[in-house]
């Protein structure tokens, strides 16, 4: 059970990493300043979790 729970948690962190990757890709391709700011703001919570800070 503990093993499966750990796997699930790891899957969540992997998915968070994937979203960070997609957000960064989209940020690089975005063309308006508003979207750029928004992508950076949205990235903050995902990075906080990915680095296990919050």
């Amino acid at each position: 059970m503990d093993f499966l729970t750990t796997i699930v948690t790891i899957l969540y962190y992997l998915f968070i990493a994937y979203i960070v990757f997609i957000l960064v890709l989209n940020l690089i391709k975005s063309k308006t300043w508003e979207k750029e700011i928004l992508y950076i703001i949205v990235l903050i919570p995902f990075l906080l979790r990915l680095f296990r800070l919050k």
Binding site: Y12, K31, E36, L48, L53
Partner: protein, 387 residues
């Protein structure tokens, strides 16, 4: 490089300027060490994992402080830090850990029952990361915590939390609420394992009285009261009467509802031989109507907005311009614990509980809790433990 690229770099840099100090602050408050200068009455310090090895090495593997009396008697356990956003619930047992001496009977003290929840502040709450209790030697800093375990220790939450073993449905987030996971589950989540470990402790150490310390918002009906399992009805009523008569503060009694599961006052009583009690003191800091969220408000309990809600009859406890200072809240708890020992001893003279060196309500208010916290730098390093 085009303008868009330069703009992106600038925005990213601003993002990092926000992210880095925030990240450092989160890391520091998660790892802030709180010293406990052991009272001469502390005979042993154990770990929770001594009772349930599965939590060894986890954030919740907290210290358990044992006080052996000179004479044998009953065993009383004080659980602090179930909800670390309720500071009086940690500070009152802290005064025991640093000062108590048991003359008769045995005392077991926990300061960080949900240690994980003490390493994170409530999202959306605007909480300060820590607070300091002033002392003659400068002051002691404590972590401000949350009601729920840190998601870094337990993630994800379920779609709905189904309590074990009652199968009652609860809010998904409450699977991280230590006072919704009693009596625990050995193969459950960290919070469920933690309560299971405490149940093992209570059973193995033959605890007679179990006390869970809390604080509540004034807009919550269960406040300034002792919530008791049916086994403790007489004891709680006696304690409430004595305190109201002798010490001048009001404390009521309420019976633990039989169909409300996961709470300590219900499950500890049901799944062990112990009498389970839960004490609530008032904490205006938790009220949704509170004004500015500051360390000062946390420690003084002064709040004009909560007072206004009171003027409209929306509160279950009174509040005036004096607020609810932390000394008053801690004093209520120490007196209620001491009175519990006395009332119990009157009824069970063969299994007494006698504790000395702990200030009561009036004394805590007069001298301040800082008086009872000791300087770790001046103490024998072997008698200093970190929470």
């Amino acid at each position: 490089m085009n303008i868009s690229a330069i703009r992106k770099i600038i925005f990213s840099a601003i993002g990092l300027i926000l992210f880095i100090p925030a990240g450092i602050s989160f890391y520091q408050s998660r790892h802030l060490k709180e010293p406990v200068v052991l009272s001469p009455g502390v005979s042993t310090v154990k770990r929770l994992s001594d009772y349930f090895p599965a939590i060894k090495g986890s954030t919740d593997d907290c210290h358990i402080y044992f006080f052996e009396g000179k004479e044998k008697g009953a065993t009383l356990m004080i659980l602090g830090g179930t909800h670390p956003e309720e500071p009086a619930g940690r500070l009152a047992p802290w005064l025991f850990a640093e000062n108590a001496v048991m003359e008769k009977g045995r005392l077991i003290v926990v300061l960080s029952a949900n240690r994980s929840a003490s390493t994170v502040t409530r999202i959306g709450g605007g909480y300060p990361p820590d607070f300091t209790i002033p002392t003659a030697w400068g002051g002691q800093k404590f972590r401000m915590g949350d009601r729920w375990s840190n998601p870094l220790d337990q993630w994800p939450d379920p779609e709905v939390y189904i309590h074990y073993p009652s199968n009652q449905n609860l809010a998904y987030v409450d699977i991280r609420n230590l006072n919704r996971t009693w009596p625990g589950r050995p193969n459950g989540t960290l919070t469920e394992k933690t309560t299971y470990a405490f149940m093992e402790l209570i059973r193995k150490e033959n605890v007679d009285i179990f006390i869970d310390l809390h604080e509540a918002e004034l807009q919550y009906p269960v406040i300034s009261t002792i919530v008791t399992h049916e086994k403790g009805q007489e004891l709680a009523t006696m304690v409430s009467m004595m305190l109201t008569d002798m010490e001048g503060f009001n404390i009521g009694t309420e019976f633990s509802p039989k169909n409300l599961h996961g709470l300590s006052h219900r499950e500890v009583g049901d799944y062990s031989n112990a009498i389970s009690l839960l004490f609530e003191a008032p904490e205006p800091f938790l009220d949704a109507t509170r004004g500015k969220t500051t360390r000062e408000q946390l420690l003084t309990g002064k709040d004009a907005f909560v007072m206004k809600a009171g003027e409209h009859g929306l509160l279950f406890e009174k509040i005036d311009e004096n607020g609810w200072p932390i000394d008053v809240r801690v004093g209520r708890h120490t007196s209620t614990i001491l009175q519990t020992m006395e009332s119990w001893t009157e009824d069970h003279p063969k299994k007494p509980l006698v504790c000395r060196n702990i200030p009561r309500y009036a004394e805590v208010i007069e001298k301040g809790i800082g008086t009872y916290l000791h300087d770790p730098k001046k103490a024998n390093s072997k008698r200093v433990v970190f929470e």
